[in-house]
Amino acid sequence: MSASTVVAARIDSPLAEFWRRFRRKHVALAAGFVLLLIILAAIAAPLIAPYDPSTPDYDNVLSPPTLAHLFGTDSYGRDILSRVIWGGRISLSVGFISVIVGGVVGVALGLLSGFFGGWVDSLIMRGADVLFAFPGLLLALAVVAVLGPGISNVIWATAVFGVPAFARLVRGDTLALKQAVYVQAARSIGVSRLKLVSVHILPGTMPGVIVNASLRLGNNILTAASLSFLGLGAQPPSPEWGAMLADGRSYLGVADWLTLFPGLAIFVVVLAFNVLGDGLRDALSQKLR
């Protein structure tokens, strides 16, 4: 960065600076736009879905895509396009809520662990180790077995297993940032520990956290889909994308549209989150220099 840009950064608000950087990442902008469309579609599901997602039509079972049913119909004659749109609501909520919950808890733990070190670090990291011993999907499975099936329990389960990863990541970054020049400088002039952590270190961990969060979003959507896939997530006749894949996989080679469209939906959403997260990371990190 040239000297003039450094001066400009000090005068522009961080938000304007961020937007200026982000605007340049075309692919990420496109991804953001796509996601916005998807989110709007999910919210507007009752208005835009051509059919009711749960009403069967036994005369139109397993129909390939036609003008009447753009994505075809499933083994009950239900319109797949409508089910995909309604399913978006479920998949997106699961993704967002579980990442936010897991992320907030994980970041807090990671900061504490990395900053204070000593017994706090040991305790938290050993706790993370213990939680790591329960592989993600399996922990989610067990949580659901105890709490019972249903999509809200899936959210808690996927949130919980995201915590150790956030904690470990933020701890690593905190350890490195503690040694950074500007942190040492702030410390030497007596900045309080709270301010040190929240103003100087936390923002430095944000790029890693955002990258992880955007991956987690996609991952959590995939995990929720896997749980529905195992029959433990959304209950029938819910059009959650994973549940649609689970039922449709029996028809691979016979009625591929049953898996193609929910599969593509998952793929596009997860991909968009990842690409967007990448762009955000770039824009944010510029701001932090």
């Binding site: 670090d121 994973g242 793929f267």
Partner: protein, 306 residues
């Protein structure tokens, strides 16, 4: 350093004890009667009771825990509730296949993932960057069983290049490790790129450039060391996750791995197997995290581990 290492190793023991207690209690919290699940779909009450006695589940809970711990100290992990075969045998049969699959998948992931990550990080902002990341991340966005079935259909059924699954020949590792590796590759690509971009504008890199050092040297010597921190973290995490078995890939490719064993054991409430597997995973993670922490210090001596 040595002191730190030994202290960490000693620290694994309380963790393992904590895990053993936690998982012991945890499996017994799961609703469902293991005796009935093992006795089968048309067992009579007498059958179920016989199984319950055989599994020791009619004894008080402190007896069960003492028995469990006692057996561990003798190196005995007990017998699977379902097959009555020794747990060490059941896990032993699946450990090597899981390890091979993990190594092969990590191989793909490191080659492809880090490769794309470095390329993207170095050519930041240009089309190689954006394109590379989209490609990398696509691998993570596929539902794995769907991808697996498509690969089987193309490469095994139609082309006949690889077996459809199983653990029979060296060729059978290709498709499952590729499917598994794709997801990890994306993660590694991200972190590698992120790390490269992060550090590329650090003071010392600018200083080195200002000093007129060749670009390549700048990248490889100065950027790399700190860039590696989160990459090492993530690689370690992913390796640990994979060692826990990858249920979906193991299911689709009929790979005899630890993931499937754990899922099946949970379905049948096979306490001894669940307990032993989770202890094993815990130990693996502890060792991996220890290795990762040591690598931090090696890579950047400024990081002080207390």
């Amino acid at each position: 350093m040595l002191g730190y290492f030994l202290r960490r190793l000693a620290g694994t023991i309380p963790v393992l004890i904590a895990v053993s207690i936690l998982v012991f209690g945890f499996v017994r919290l799961l609703p469902g009667d293991p005796a009935r699940l093992v006795a089968g779909p048309d067992a009579s009450e007498a059958d179920v009771q016989a199984v319950r006695q055989d599994l020791g589940l009619d004894r008080p809970i402190y007896w069960q825990y003492a028995h469990y711990v006692g057996e561990i100290f003798q190196g005995n992990l007990g017998r699977s509730s379902r097959t009555r075969l020794p747990v060490s045998y059941e896990i032993g049969q699946r450990f090597m296949p899981t390890l091979w699959l993990t190594l092969a998948a990590m191989g793909w992931a490191i080659l492809a993932g880090m490769g794309i990550g470095v390329l993207s990080g170095v050519r930041r902002g240009r089309w190689e960057d954006q394109g590379g990341m989209v490609v990398a991340v696509s691998g993570l966005s596929f539902p794995p069983f769907w991808l697996g079935l498509l690969l089987i259909d193309l490469f095994s059924v139609r082309l006949g290049w690889f077996p459809t699954g199983g653990y029979e020949s060296p060729a059978s590792i290709v498709l499952p490790s590729f499917t598994l590796g794709l997801a990890v590759a994306a993660v590694l690509a991200r972190f590698t790129r992120s790390a490269f971009v992060e550090v590329a504008s650090e003071d010392y890199v600018r200083t080195a450039r200002a000093k007129g050092l060749p670009e390549r040297r700048v990248i490889w010597t100065h950027t790399l060391r700190n860039a590696l921190i989160p990459v090492i973290t993530m690689t370690g995490l992913q390796f640990g996750f994979l060692l826990g078995g990858a249920v979906v890939v193991e299911t689709v490719f009929a790979w005899p791995g630890l993931g499937r064993l754990l899922v099946d054991s949970i379905s049948y409430r096979d306490y001894p197997v669940i307990q032993a597997e989770i202890l094993l995973f815990s130990l693996e993670f502890i060792l991996i995290n220890l290795a990762v922490d040591l690598l931090y210090a090696v890579v950047n001596p400024e990081i002080r581990l207390r």
